[in-house]
Symmetry: C3
Subunit: 134 residues, 3 copies
């Protein structure tokens, strides 16, 4: 049986990375699952989730700046809203990650953090977590 959890976040910028490490660790601890997988899923189309280095805030700015360079907000888009870039960034980054669970904790590398990726904030957002043994 899997253990399901939903959390709510409030982003504060149009584009922003928000660490989910404590939420992921708590969902795993609360589930009681010792070995398994935790799926972190973002049910939005202008946001995503990724795993990257959590130590240097400069790197977070670099990731967002490069994405903005690859997918500018003000290019010519057909989309009826002004956030086509946000959708395209979400497609590049992805809407879920799978975190392995070992000994009741997330099995991440020493430098890895799980980041919610806001591409069209500020907004209230949801993140879905599912922890299961298999």
């Amino acid at each position: 049986m899997g253990h399901f959890k939903e959390i709510t976040l409030d982003s504060r910028e149009r584009a922003e990375l928000i660490k989910l490490d404590e939420h992921v660790a708590k969902a795993i601890a609360d589930s009681g699952v010792k070995d398994g997988v935790c799926h972190v899923f973002v049910p939005h189309t202008t946001a995503g989730v990724t795993i990257n280095e959590g130590a240097d805030p400069g790197l977070v700015r670099d990731i967002l700046a490069r994405l903005a360079q690859l997918v500018p907000q003000n290019a010519r888009y057909a989309h009826v809203e002004d956030n086509a870039d946000s959708h395209i960034k979400a497609a590049l980054v992805g809407s879920s990650v799978a975190v392995l669970v070992r000994d009741g904790a997330p099995l991440l590398g020493a430098w890895q953090s799980v980041f919610f990726c806001e591409f069209d904030g500020p907004r209230r957002r949801r993140v879905l977590l599912r922890v299961a043994e298999a």
Copy 2:
């Protein structure tokens, strides 16, 4: 025990996004799984799968146009065929997504659709779906 299903699609354009929502919902319903995960996997190297907004066809065109701008078909490539761009787009988008299952249905956001991403059509393509409780 997981439930496995294979579907066949016929794409009609070189680059095209094709909605898989009904296939995903049916695979989950047919499996009888109430809570779990549905993996949607594309066994091709010039196609992928992504989750994004399904309401505006203009946005679909924007996603494809931006990918074509980032990875042009006619740049200089070493690949022996003329579809290096298709492979690289597939690497950016990814070849699988994980959809959470809740109450016997896909747990997607209000605006989310699952899209097969054709990058080297038109062709007959396969999509593999696996639904499991854990």
Copy 3:
């Protein structure tokens, strides 16, 4: 119950794709799992994992060259180290893939290989594999 395995790789270039097919097949065979999912997870922030064509070494060079064009090493970055590009490439490619397991073997397409993506080598690297029935 899932079956967990860790392997070690030595990359030889700064940017390089290394095939993991044999490791994935062996992890699945050793697990005894007949039907399920194998998660391949990279616990590093300047490397990733992807699935793409394994037949043409020219295509591998194309993928790496295009990523280097999209995310140049020598742009202006805020990151304190000289590998911001490596981190950003990892964010684009992703840090895990899910491979379906069928009849005790990886269910990959005829042309698909699983590749470890080195973006800041040469280094000793780890790859985590988890095979489970669900």
